[in-house]
Symmetry: C2
Subunit: 206 residues, 2 copies
C-alpha cells in the first residue's frame, strides 16, 4: 500500500503514550487549522495548544502538510464509522439515506473544524482531497447499484447519483450545520430527504 | 451600499485604458491563483503574467485579498449571466433546471481556475464566500417558490431545496467538469436532471 504522504509513511509511535501524544497534536491541529486556516496555523501554535514541546511535533510529523493529510484520513474514518452506525438496521436504501442525512448534519455540527480542514485540504494537497471524495463516492455507488438491483430505487446513473447525493449533504450541511448553529437539523434533514426521494417534479395523476 | 472590501471600496479606473489594465490583472490573477493556490500566487507573478509593472497593481488593488474578492464577484456576475442566457426561453421551472445544469457544467469546464478561486476564497475571506452562496440561494429560492405557486413543482422547503440543488450542481460539476476533462457533460447533466426531477425512490403503481 502506498502512503498518502509524498515523502513516505510517517514514523509510527512506539508506545501507547506516544500514540496519545500524537492524537493530542492532531486534536490541537484540527482546532487550530479549522479555526484559523492552514496558512495562519503555525506548528508553534499547534504544539502550544496541544501542551507539548515544539520538538515533540517532529517525532510524529515532518510538516504541517503531514498533519493536514492525517486529519483528512481522520475525517474519513470518523464520518464513515458515524454513518455506518446511523444506517445499521435500516431495512431499505431509502431508509438508510434518510438516517444518513440526519447523521451527516449532526456530524458537521459536532465537527465544524474537521469539516473545514477537509475542505481546505484541496488547496494544500489536491490528491488527498480527491481521494477522500473518490472513496466515499465508490462506496456510495456500490450501495446504489445494489439497491437498484433489488428494485428499491429507480434505475439511474449510480456515479452521477453518488456525487449528487454527496453534494446535497455537503451544501445542506454547510447551510444548516455550519452557517446557522441554531437551525433545526431535523427539519433540514427531512426536507433534504424528501428532495432526494421524490425530486421536484409535479406528477399529474389521472 | 457597503463595500465587500473591509478597508473600503477600491479606486475605480479613470480611463478605458485603465479599466483594460485592471481586467488584465484580474485575468492574470485568476490564472495564477487558480493554478497555484492563493498562498503561492504572488503579486509579482500576477503582474508578470499580466505584463504590467508591479507598481501598476497598486493603482487598482491594495492587497492580494482585494483581487481575490473581485474574482469572487466576477464569478458571480459571469455565472449569473451565463445561467440567465441558458434558461431564457424555458417554459417551465423544470426545463430551466435542465438547461441550467447543462450550462453550469459547461461553465465549470470553461472556467476551472475561476471555480477554484471561489472555492478557496472561503479560507481567505469567509464573508465574501458566504455572500456569494447566499445571493445565489436567495435567487434560487424565489424561483422555486414561484414555481411551487404555479403548480410546476411539488410543495417543499424552498431554502433546503435551493441549497440541495446548488450542491448537486457543485459536486457533479467537480466530478465531471473539473476532475474528468474528457467526460461527457451532456450525459452527466441529463442524469443529474433525472435525479433532481424524480429523486431515487421507486414508486409502486397499482
Amino acid at each position: 500500500m502506498t502512503s498518502i504522504h509524498p515523502q513516505g509513511p510517517l514514523p509510527a509511535p512506539k508506545t501507547k503514550r506516544g500514540e496519545r501524544t500524537r492524537q493530542k497534536i492532531l486534536d490541537a491541529a484540527e482546532r487550530e487549522i479549522g479555526a484559523k486556516g492552514f496558512a495562519e496555523a503555525s506548528i508553534a501554535a499547534i504544539t502550544a495548544e496541544a501542551d507539548v514541546a515544539q520538538g515533540t511535533f517532529y517525532l510524529y510529523f515532518r510538516t504541517k502538510e503531514d498533519v493536514l493529510r492525517e486529519l483528512v484520513l481522520r475525517m474519513g474514518r470518523r464520518l464513515r464509522r458515524h454513518l455506518t452506525m446511523a444506517v445499521t438496521g435500516a431495512t431499505s436504501r431509502m431508509e438508510a439515506e434518510r438516517h444518513g442525512l440526519h447523521a451527516f448534519l449532526a456530524f458537521v455540527r459536532d465537527n465544524p473544524n474537521l469539516y473545514r480542514v477537509v475542505a481546505e485540504s484541496q488547496f494544500v494537497d489536491a490528491t488527498v482531497h480527491k481521494a477522500y471524495y473518490d472513496a466515499f463516492a465508490a462506496n456510495y455507488r456500490e450501495a446504489l447499484e445494489a439497491a437498484e438491483a433489488e428494485g428499491e430505487i429507480t434505475k439511474g446513473d449510480a456515479e452521477v447519483r453518488a456525487w449528487a447525493l454527496m453534494g446535497v449533504a455537503d451544501m445542506v450541511g454547510r447551510r444548516y450545520a455550519l452557517y446557522d448553529p441554531k437551525a433545526s437539523l431535523h427539519d433540514a434533514a427531512e426536507a433534504a430527504y424528501d428532495f432526494i426521494a421524490n425530486g421536484l417534479m409535479e406528477r399529474r395523476h389521472g
